[in-house]
Each structure stands twice: as C-alpha cells, then as structure tokens.
Amino acid sequence: MNRQIVQLFGLIVVLFGVLIGFTSWWSVFDAKALKEKEANKRPLLEQQQIKRGRILAADGTVLARSVAKGSGANRRYVRRYPEGALYGHPIGYSFVRQGDSEFEKFHNDELVGEESEFGSILDQLRGRNQEGNDIVTNIEPEAQRAALGDLEAAGFGAVVAIEPSSGRVKVMASNPPYDPNRVPYELKKLNENELEAPLLDRATQGEFPPGSTFKVVTAAAGLDSGTITPETAIDAPGTLDVQGQPLQNDFNEDFGPITLDTALTNSVNTWFAQLGEQVGEETLFEYMDRFGFNATPAIDLPEDQVYPSGVYEEGKLLGPGDPIDIARVAIGQERLLVTPLQMAEVAAAVANGGKLMKPQIWSRVIDPDGRVVKSLDPAQYSQPIDEQTAVELTTAMEGVVSEGTGTNAAIPGVPVAGKTGTAETPGNEACGGGSEENQAWFIGFAPADEPKIAIAATVGCTTQFGNDVAAPIFRDVAETILDNEGS
C-alpha cells in the first residue's frame, strides 16, 4: 500500500500547488485588472482612508478640506467645502460614491499624495500613512465673490479673469452655482435640472455665440497678417449683401470709409465683415488656432470638462474648406460658439504683448510637512500676434471704453481696453425659449498701458446689451483685483 500512499501524497502536493497558482493569479498577476473592476469598491474605500490635501485660495482661504470620521480602522475622511457654492466652480467635488469633478479631479494624484511605487513602499516601511498634499490656487476670494455676486444679480453666465503675464486664473465664476457640500445628497437632482444646469461650469463648458467680441480676433488677424494697417480705410455702408443675405449695422448706420479705431469703437458690422472676407477663411482660422480656438484649452481641469471653441456643426468643429460664411464668422455670428475661458485668453494674449500664456488655476503644491513641492512655472501657449499688432489693437480697444460701445467698463483713473458683444439668441432653449434673449459680453483688460488683469464676462438669457450687463461686471471684478494689487 506504501506506493499508493506516496502517490496520494503526490496528488495532494499537486492540489496544493494549484491553490498556490490560483492565489498567485488573483493576488499578483490579475490584481491590477481586479482593482479596476466596477464591483470592486476597495480602491475607493482605501482612498477614503487617505487624508486628502486641502485646496486653498491665493490668500490662504480654505476652499476644500477633509474631515476625519470614526476612529481606528473605521477612520475615513469626508470632503468639506467651507465656502459653499462660491467655489463649486472651478474646484468641483470629490466623494467616494459620487466621484469627482473639475479641479479636484484634475489634481487628484497630488491631493491624495500619490507618489511613485518606490516612494510609497518607503513610506510603508517608515510606518507613515499616505497623506495628501495641499494645493494653493490663484483664485482671489474677493474678486471671485464680486464676480459671482454680480452674475447672480444679472443672470446665467460666467466670468473668467486671468493675469496676462502668467496665465494665473484669478476668477472663474459660473452662475447658477451649486454647493459641493450638497452633492452627496442631491447629485441626481442637480443633474436633472436641465434649465439651470448648476453643475455645468459655464466658464469652460458654456458654448455661447461671442457676438462682436470676436471682432478682436478678426482685427488681430487683419493687422498681424498685414491685410490692413491702422490707417487702412474700408468703406462701411449701412447694409452689405453677404451670400445673398443683407448684413446690417446697428440702426443701418452708414459710416463711409473708416479705419480700425473707428470701426472697433462703434462695432461696425459691415466693416468687419469685409475685413473678414479680405483676410480669408484660411488665415482667419489660422489666427483662431493660434489664440487657442479649435482645441481644448490647456487649463488644469479635466479634458472632458473644458470645451473647445470654434465653428460648430451638429456638435462637430468645422475647419477651413467647410462651407462657412466667413464674413459672418468675422463679426461673431454664423455657427461660432465660444467659451468665456477662450475669450478671456484672447483678451489676455492682446494684453500680454501678443503672447498667450497657459491659463492655470493652481499655484503651489505643499506637502504635509509644509514644504513647497512644486510651484507654477508660467508657460507660453503660443504667440498669436506680434507685439506691434498688440499695441495697435490695444489702442483701438481703449477707444471702445473711452468713447464707444463699452463706456460702462471705464474705471476712474485707469485706462481700460475692451470690447462689448451682444449676440441675439431668440428662442434660446438654455433660457427656456424667450423671444428677446441676448448673450451679452464684455472682454478686456486693465490697466491698458500695463495690464494686470484680463477678463471675459458674459451674461445670457438677458434682454440687455453687453455694455449694460457685462461691462459693469468687468469693471467691478477688475477694480477689485486692481485694488488688491495696489494694497
């Protein structure tokens, strides 16, 4: 019987070998795939046990922090947003069940202190719990508060303020706002509110017709490509026939032959329509690309929450060669849709001598020991126009505020350059379908001679014009930021 006993032992060895094989498969070889399974909540639960870093405003105001609940093995952290709805955009939220969004999502690795595999093994050996890094943003609370307050008084809309020389995003406000603290309780409700769409960050996801603010891009392309100079005069009749449709100035006003300054100051449609045709589809699109259109802006927010601006056809971007009415694109009509972030970048590029800096919300990453691990190194995105063009364009934009269509943006004692815009959007579904809805805009920067801040402000679903609702918001936010700079 001994031979059989030995054989039986051999079988047991094989069976136990199979057990070791399967254990190896689950615990090592297939572990990565298993951790990514939908049914596996462990990675989320474990992340919940990490103290996520705080998010701070430029002045140290706490925008998001983690609060411990329970103790021992039951200890877990829950996100709190002390400032409520004020920073719902662009900070976003982070919860185990509801997931994460916006800034919280983009900077997740830094906030949970995710390091290299080796680093975390060292931490384990030292018996140190993984702890997240704090991130200081460029957001200025006073200006953010001013922007959101103004928007709430005016209507659905957004404000983006960027420091032209660095790309630091100092304000990003979207109305209606939402309180991230409520997300665990009413995410479904927030999602289902299609009219107000509070979870939509209108600053980066709002796609609006730019109206006359786009004339800045057209002028930039005209000047920089050499199609015109500031002295070039173009005849601007009251009405122009473009592609079989009459294109009119406000009140059908006939301006005669005028130069850029007069045309921009008075926002003359027939002048810019002709400039657009002279510049041509190819060149205008090239300049749009240089300003960042037709691409996802290089901001530190998740790619799916930042939309590109451009000419859209059924959700798809059109390019040169597609059937496009370029004269109407030149005055911000046609199927052109832009985000407030994109228009703020246009203003910032002109303000910064033609150089467009990458817009960034974050400023510094600080580890749990208080050391600055990383700090923002401003980077140039592109140079859409040369410095000469920027100077000439600034002069024209100053006229808009000092004597033109945007006088409500004027700040006493500070030169301001800007451009108004009012796109007519009758029957806009986003407004519930009123018949006299406008999308009102103001983009600009101040001080015009030494720009500290570039801003795009837009209000939708309004019967008013850019100078009436958007320019005052620009002025309020710019003044708040400049006052802070001065003090």
């Binding site: 039986l8 047991i12 136990f16 689950w26 049914a39």
Partner: protein, 443 residues
C-alpha cells in the same frame, strides 16, 4: 535515542512561540488604543497550554511523530492571531475551544491507547457518523445556514456534526477496507477492458456514494460531500491499488453532482456563482468576488496585520463576508500577501507529509489506512475551502482546519490529531525496537 522525538517536538515549539508572540505583538501595536495588555497575557497562556500538552505527550506517547503537534500548534496560534485581529470576543471563544480541543485530545489518547477496539465497533461508528450527518435535518435541533443544513443546536450547545462525522466515516472505511481489500482486488473482473470490483462487495461502497449524494441533496453541503467522497476514493485507491476504481467512483460522483446541479436549486446556484460571479456582484456573487478582491488587495507581501478592510468603514456591512470562517484565507492573503499564504499552505503540506509518513511507518493494514484516511480528509478539507475562496472549485462552507473560527472544527481536528499520534507512537516504537525485543518486552 528514541525519546529524542519529544525533545525535537519541544524544539519545534520554539518557532511557534516566537510567531505567536510576534503576531500578538503586531496586532497589539497596531490597535494599541483599542486593546489592553490582555493580548500579551493570552500569548503566555497559549504557550503554557502547549507546554502542558507537550509534557502530556512525553508521558503518554513518547515515540509519536515530533512535528505534527508543533505544526498544528503553529496553525492554531496563527488562527488565534487572525481571529483576534478580527474580533477580540471571537478570539476568546476560540481560545476556550482550543483548550476544550486539547482536553478531548488528551482523553482520546488516554482511552484509545489501544485504538484497535475501533475496528470492533465499526458499524456502530458508521451509524453514529451517518446519524451525525442527518442531525441537522432533524426537526427541533437542526439549523439552516445560508441554505445549507450544517448546524445542530441542543439547548445552549451548537455544533457542526459534519466535522465529527468525517472521523467516524474514515474509521469505518479504514476498518472495512482493511478487511475487504483482498477480495476487492482478487475478485475484480475485467468488463469491456475496465476492471470492476466484485459486485457483492460493492454494496457498502455504493452506500458511501449514496451518503455523499444524500449530503449533497438533503444537507445541501457541497463542501463536506466533496470532502467525504474524495477521502473515500483516496482510501479505496490506497487499499486496492486499482486506479480504475477511482475513475469509476469519480465518474459516479460527477454524474451525481451534475444531475443534482441541474435539479437542486441550491447546488445549481453554487455552481452558477462559481462560474459567473459577475452576474450578480452585489448579492449572490458578493462573497466570492470580495474574497478575490481582498486577495488582489494583498499582492505579494500583503498590507500587514490589522491593515486590511473587513467591513465598509463607518458601517457594519461586511466587505469580506465570513472573514473569520469561510474567507479567512482571503484575509490572510490580504494582510500577509502571497508569501504569507504560501507559508500557510506549506504548513498544511508538511502536516500532510507527516501524516502520510505515519501511514508509511505503520505496520498493520488498519493503522495504515486509518492514518492515510485521516490525513487525506484533513488535507482535502483544507483544499476544499482554500480552493473555494480562490475560485478553483465552487465556494462552500467548510472551515479551514485549526485556523477558522469555530469550536466543532477545532475540537474535531484535535481528536483527528490524537488518532494520528496514537498510530504514530505505536508505529515508530515498533519500527525502532527489533521484533525480538518487542516480544521479550511483551512477556
């Protein structure tokens, strides 16, 4: 020096002591805030009990295998630390059962020194074994757990009879096969190229098959059923050396299992969950999936003692259901990694090796078959539950011997160990002392 066996045993207990102290210290350090110094007292208490057992073995079974008891003590110590890490109260129960197990261990050694008497009562023992299996279905005392009838409750006393039944069945089979092995071999006929056992001796074997099927259907205990039948086939093979018998037996079992899997919902569900756990990841597939996710979480080295999640933080909902019993192996992989798990499997393998060694050394057929059967049933039990939580086979509610929380399992397995040591003591003494000397000693 034959008596050196006990010295080796004492020596082998040292690493057990170290592991136990280290384990308790680790849990203690991890949860310092929650637990008192009591944990260290438990460790000392455990070692004292082990030493007492060692002294008892020195007196009663001086020649028995020196490694079996330390290996089992190692598993028990490890199990205590794991259960302690899950719940202090459960660990206290477990420690009490450990002591009760040792008492029964000592009583078995005391009263069954001449274990040949078991042969005389083999039909009685078989009857008791079957009765134990039936007990969970008896009205009044039977208990249903997760759709299976595994437990018996008489007054305050609750236990799982299958754990004890397995010993009875093995004793019966060893005795029966010792007597009939000759006729089973000689009387075998070749029919259509297949060697079949003689029909008139087939009866009792079919009874065993029937009992297994009966368990599958009425007790709904897939795990025990598999364990029993596998042990039976192992014994049949060792006794007769006929591989064809094993093939026929396996065929019969698979046929039965397939038939019942198709017709009995409980069995069918178990198989279905095993094959497609992702079909219902939050209900029926939850346990096996969480078991596997826990292993994935452990990786090569594990998260460390006390570091794995067992419940969803902030709630009492289980993240790893039945962590102290069915899925304790997954928790081991989670906390000690693949390396720790391999260590545990290696200890089971060493116990199997020592058990089969006892069988090899044993002189008479009954001892040989009994040692083989006990070792086989023990090893297969470990395989069935570890295989269950690693998705090698369908997951069933069998305990991981000496590690899982559960009184019946601990106590029954200590009785099993006592029988193995009894066989070993006699075998090693006979092997070491020349026959003549033995005869002189006997007169």
């Amino acid at each position: 020096m034959i008596r050196s066996a006990r010295n080796r045993e004492l020596l082998a207990l040292i690493p057990v002591a170290l592991l136990l102290s280290a384990g308790f210290a680790a849990v203690f350090a991890q949860e310092n805030a929650r637990l008192g110094k009591l944990s260290l007292v438990y460790g000392a208490y455990f070692l004292a009990v082990c030493l007492a057992t060692h002294v008892y073995l020195r007196l009663r079974l001086p020649d028995a295998d020196p490694y079996l008891f330390p290996l089992v003590a190692l598993l028990t110590a490890f199990g205590l630390v794991m259960v302690y890490r899950i719940d202090e109260g459960l660990a206290r129960d477990q420690a009490n059962w450990f002591v009760l197990g040792l008492v029964l261990f000592a009583l078995t050694i005391h009263f069954l020194r001449d274990y040949d008497v078991l042969e005389r009562y083999r039909y009685t023992i078989a009857g008791v074994g079957l009765l134990l299996l039936l007990a969970p279905r008896l009205p009044g005392i039977g208990q249903q757990v997760n759709g299976a009838y595994l437990g018996v409750k008489i007054g305050p006393l609750a236990f799982q009879p299958a754990e004890f039944s397995k010993i009875c069945i093995v004793v019966f089979l060893a005795s029966y096969l010792r007597e009939r092995r000759e006729v089973l071999i000689v009387g075998a006929r070749r029919v259509l190229g297949v060697t079949l056992p003689p029909l008139k001796h087939l009866g009792p074997l079919l009874v065993v098959w029937g009992a297994s099927m009966f368990m599958l259907v009425f007790i709904r205990d897939l795990g025990s059923s598999l364990m029993f039948f596998a042990a039976f086939l192992a014994l049949l093979y060792v006794a007769t050396g006929r591989f064809s018998f094993v093939v026929i037996g396996m065929g019969l079992f698979l046929l039965g299992a397939w038939f019942f899997a198709a017709t009995v919902p409980h069995v069918h569900d178990r198989v279905e969950i095993w094959l497609n756990p992702y079909n219902d990841p939050t209900a029926s597939g939850y346990q096996i999936l969480q078991s596997i996710f826990a292993q994935a979480d452990g990786g090569l080295f594990g998260k460390g003692f006390g570091q794995a999640l067992i419940t969803i933080p902030g709630t009492h909902d289980a993240l790893l259901p039945a962590a102290q019993t069915d899925t304790i192996y997954s928790l081991i992989v989670n906390e000690l990694g693949l390396f720790g798990a391999c260590g545990v499997i290696l200890v089971y393998l060493l116990i199997a090796a020592r058990g089969f060694k006892v069988a090899l050394l044993a002189d008479d057929g009954f001892s040989k078959l009994l040692a083989t059967g006990l070792t086989a049933v023990f090893s297969i039990q470990a395989f069935v539950i570890i295989g269950g939580v690693t998705r090698v086979i369908p997951l069933t509610g069998v305990t991981l011997p000496f590690i899982s929380y559960g009184g019946s399992s601990i106590v029954a397995n200590f009785v099993l160990l006592a029988l193995l040591l009894l066989i070993s003591d006699r075998a090693r003494r006979e092997a070491a002392v020349p026959r003549g000397a033995f005869a002189l000693e006997g007169t």
